[in-house]
């Protein structure tokens, strides 16, 4: 996004909103990750305690999801940079 047309008051206001969004986005990601890893790893309800196998699955699932998100984010950022470079090329 391009904030160059924003006044400094507008930028400060926007920063405050974005900071709040980052917190709520993080909390949503946390809830989503809990649900996803629970659904993938827990299929045995003959006991209420997590088995060591389930436990390991949860740890791997969490770690792998974060790495996955980071990789998607990196590729996504590259693709957006390419689009903007192409747009600027066209304008000049």
């Amino acid at each position: 996004m391009d904030f160059s047309s924003f006044t400094s008051a507008e930028q400060a206001h926007m920063t405050k909103i974005i900071e709040k969004r980052q917190m709520t986005d993080f909390l949503k990601m946390y809830a989503n990750l809990t649900e996803k890893c629970f659904n993938a790893c827990c299929n045995d309800f003959t006991s209420k305690a997590l088995s060591s196998k389930e436990d390991q699955c949860i740890l791997n699932c969490t770690e792998k999801f974060i790495k996955h998100s980071e990789r998607v984010g990196a590729r996504f950022a590259e693709a957006n940079a390419d689009i903007q470079a192409a747009a600027q090329q066209q304008q000049s």
């Binding site: 909390l27 949503k28 827990c42 299929n43 309800f45 305690a49 997590l50």
Partner: protein, 100 residues
């Protein structure tokens, strides 16, 4: 969201601290979201989808109890993992995720 609605600067409105209200609402929304996902997950893990009867049978009831316990454990484990990752990245760890 409420930041937007209010405009800047008036964090206190008629003797009400809006930032405090905001934080309480974020907490409420987080617990509600978490609870709703637990209901959905345990429903698909424990409830027979044929719906031949309206009552929870013995097996389903026991499954629900264990499912809630496991879901809570998973939430804690995932929180600890996220926290240790954040701590490793940022240098310092914020307050715990374990209990909402």
């Amino acid at each position: 969201m409420s930041f937007l609605g209010r405009g800047p600067g008036n964090a206190t409105n008629g003797g009400i601290n809006m930032d405090k209200i905001d934080m309480a609402l974020t907490e409420l929304d987080t617990v509600t979201d978490f609870f709703n996902r637990m209901v959905q997950s345990c429903h698909s893990k424990c409830i027979n989808a044929r719906y031949a009867e309206a009552e929870l049978n013995k097996g389903e009831s026991v499954c629900i109890d264990r499912c809630v316990a496991k879901f809570n454990d998973v939430q804690k484990k995932v929180g600890e993992k996220l926290q240790s990752r954040t701590a490793a990245n940022a240098g310092a760890a914020p307050g715990g995720f374990g209990a909402l």
